[in-house]
Amino acid sequence: MFQPNDYDIPNADIAWCPGCGNFGIMRALKTALAQLNLSPQNVVIVSGIGQAAKMPQYVKAHMFNGLHGRSLPAAVAIKMANPELVVIAESGDGCSYGEGGNHFIHTIRKNPDITNIVHNNQIYGLTKGQASPTTMRGQITTLQIDGVYVDPFNPIAVAVALDASFVARTFSGYLDLTVEIFKQAIQHKGYALVDVFQPCVSFNKLNTYEWYKENTYILPDSYDPTDRVQAFRIATETKKFALGVIYKNPSKPVFEEQLIAYKTNKTPIAYRGLIA
């Protein structure tokens, strides 16, 4: 069995601020990979640009650290070329919902068997404190000096509206919950969105550890994630934000399984013609 520290990169010079929510997400990811007993050689972590996107720098696995906003197209292509790999696309809210918004929509439509972890700290950290697509209305930032005057992007509602096959939200402060959701997301056959609330200790003075604890709640065991109408209602709540697996559609066809090139020959395209 793998242990979480089997995924450590020795002597990594971690560029995150002390107390950053990214540490909790990294801990949860390594624990989930270990508990699923996934060999680093079998996992590809794809990211865009930003502080969250540095995650694969610090996790021992294959890494494709591409362009800002473009983690999803890259992840989809890697899964297409080699469906045997476990593919995780991981980036921040700006990268995933702003710059990569179009890819977010269309990757949900495709439903490739990848996991999409979005670090959602509701602010731009690396560029020092501007609003992100998920910053709340009215919040004052270094750039929106009069407060943000547009509504935040609601990734959960968009994902449910597009009938994403797995939609979850967690909070980096809850390690066990996050590990459990990551495991379910990775094991889920199809596209899995995990939006992770995460404090930015340097630039977001509103959405703090305490704020997330006070403004979220964990969905009860009795909650049925296959009920889409209920999921949409949960997704659009604004008083308190639900954590857990919010929506699941297990019957959606998986993208890469439908590709003509795999209809009769299951060998990954990547391996065809290579000597074993």
Binding site: V46, M63, G66, A77, N82, I269
Partner: protein
């Protein structure tokens, strides 16, 4: 009866009238009648209406280039003659319905629709027209039947039958006209194959092991995409119509990273969106093959027309400094060979490689010989535990591993990185990595393609072409028959092959011919060899050169002397 050597037939009508159907069937009937054929089309950016035309050169000898002259003009709508008047001469025969052709001196009235209606539907007019042309040229009637049947093979028996009958009626009419437009057959045509520029690019890709294509449709490059989609099943190709060009290019790079051999096919506007991805390929040293079918810009420009104005775009696409290769096929054969080569070169040097075609080349077809076999050169290594993706080597090329093949981890990073692919801000590592990437240039230059020279060794004037003007210039110079004039064609435009220098040094005078307004290639040559390249023939009206136009331009240049 004196037999002609060549006939130039032009079909002209509105979009949606089925000119393309006539063209598609007729070229096959011509080929099956043991005659050479060259076809090219010009069309407006619309689905219905306007006026489009297709030029067919039918000959007893190989034909490969666009000409202006029209021997027989088939008119299907009212503005066709006005648009093509400048290409007509005293002996041009104009054929069509009375209302369109009656004012022309050499007209032949044929009411295609009325004849079609006698077979049940005016929609069969295309088959009537195909038949009339086949009859006029005394083409093989069995080939006419066979190709009509094949073209409509997915339709009902009744529809196939009606089209065949309509075509045969047309054939009979064509024969009865006695227009003396007949050619001597050539047996060797049997061994040739009809191929379009688009299909040549697609076949070249597949021959070189292309197994991944992701693109966003854009004229004139889309046909390459659809041709690959047709081969997805037989050749195991992953085909994805991406949500946008940005996704397409990022997908292709990531597919190469994972071990596929990917192609993106686009045009200038689409490629503009891919420039950041090209830079990514440069940084992470992952191959990408880009087919760019040029059309006139800026912006949307003339969406269905032709130009060679995106050379600068591909030369400088992507921020930062990294090596690349640009090919510019001048013929359908080169479209095949250079596309195939692009895959092997991209794989070997881990760089972006471009195939620069244009609407004219992609939409043209002629008969080619058997296509050469291509070796699929994959430079993938099985990794070990100590694998370093960016290992420093003498020639700058690090062994490329892929995830899941071997025990190593393949870590690529768009940030500056060390040998393991880890992010770094070390000045010394940065310097080393810049030099590593640029070091590859040496071998890339060494392996560049020498330009193709045509003419006698004691030439004085050198006419320089690149890309699709090649065969038009070639025919023009042949017909000029002046051994003081030679022709130098560049299938590889970047890096400029150093071997080109000696051809320039020998010439007393050099003329560059390009289909753009600023002479982009001439400027590149000037920059490379520090020589005078100011003598230029340029065209930028959106329509391809013709043999006559090149001849005229060269003669004008000679008179100036």
């Amino acid at each position: 009866m004196e037999k002609k050597k060549e006939i130039s037939v032009v079909l002209s009508g509105a979009a949606g009238q089925g000119i393309q159907t006539v063209e598609e069937i007729l070229v096959r009937v011509i080929k099956d009648s043991d005659l050479y054929v060259f076809a090219t089309k010009e069309y407006m950016s619309r689905i219905r209406g306007g006026n489009n035309s297709t030029t067919l050169r039918i000959s007893c000898e190989p034909v490969h280039a666009n000409i202006d002259r029209i021997d027989l003009l088939v008119v299907l709508n009212e503005n066709a003659i006005d648009r093509l008047r400048w290409r007509m001469n005293d002996s041009t025969i104009v054929l069509g319905e009375e209302k369109f052709v009656r004012n022309e001196p050499n007209h032949v009235i044929i009411d295609f629709s009325k004849i079609a209606e006698s077979f049940g539907n005016r929609i069969y007019a295309n088959s009537v027209a195909t038949g009339v042309l086949a009859g006029i040229m005394n083409l093989n009637v069995e080939a006419l039947k066979k190709n009509i049947e094949e073209h409509f093979s997915t339709r009902s028996k009744e529809i196939i039958g009606a089209n065949v009958s309509a075509a045969l009626k047309g054939y009979e009419i064509g024969r009865s006209l006695n227009l003396k437009l007949e050619l001597t057959r050539c047996e060797e045509v049997k061994h040739k194959r009809l191929l379009s520029g688009s299909k040549a690019v697609a076949l070249g890709a597949v021959a070189a092991g292309c197994n991944f294509v992701s693109s966003y449709p854009m004229s004139p490059s889309t046909v390459v995409f659809t041709e690959l989609a047709k081969m997805a099943k037989s050749h195991g190709i992953l085909v994805e119509q991406a949500e946008d060009e940005i996704a397409a290019a990022n997908m292709v790079i990531a597919a190469w990273y994972a071990g596929a051999r990917g192609l993106v096919t686009t045009s200038g506007g689409g490629f503009a969106l891919m420039c950041e991805a090209i830079s990514l390929a440069g940084m992470i040293e992952t191959p990408i093959v880009v087919h760019l079918g040029q059309r006139p810009g800026p912006a949307t420009g003339l969406p269905t027309r032709t130009e060679q104005a995106d050379l600068n775009l591909v030369l400088y696409a992507g921020h930062g400094e990294f090596p690349r290769v640009v090919y510019a096929p001048g013929s359908i054969e080169e479209a095949y060979e250079l596309t195939a080569r692009a895959f092997n070169v991209a794989d070997k040097f881990q760089i972006p490689v471009f195939i620069l075609t244009d609407q004219y080349l992609l939409d043209s077809y002629y008969l080619v010989d058997q296509l050469p076999e291509v070796s699929i050169e994959r430079h993938i290594v099985k990794t070990n535990q100590n694998y370093r993706r960016y290992e420093i080597t003498e020639d700058g090329i690090s062994p490329r591993g892929i995830p899941g093949y071997g025990d190593g981890l393949v870590r690529v990073d768009s940030d500056e990185h060390d040998e393991f692919g880890h992010i770094t801000e070390s000045a010394s590592v940065r310097k080393m990595m810049v030099e590593k990437r640029l070091k590859k240039f040496k071998r890339i230059v060494e392996e560049s393609l020498t330009p193709r020279f045509f003419g006698s060794e004691n030439y004085e004037l050198l006419l320089v072409s690149w890309g699709s003007t090649f065969l038009i210039v070639r025919e023009a110079l042949r017909s000029l028959g002046n051994d003081k004039i030679a022709h130098l064609h560049f299938p590889q435009v970047y890096p400029v092959p150093p071997t080109a220098k000696r051809f320039f040094e020998k010439a007393k005078k050099i003329i560059f011919i390009e289909q753009n307004a600023t002479g982009q290639f001439a400027n590149l040559i000037k920059q490379t060899f520090c020589m005078d390249t100011s003598n230029r023939i340029l065209k930028y009206d959106g329509f391809p050169y013709s043999v006559e136009q090149v001849l005229r331009a060269v003669r004008e240049k000679l008179e100036v002397e």
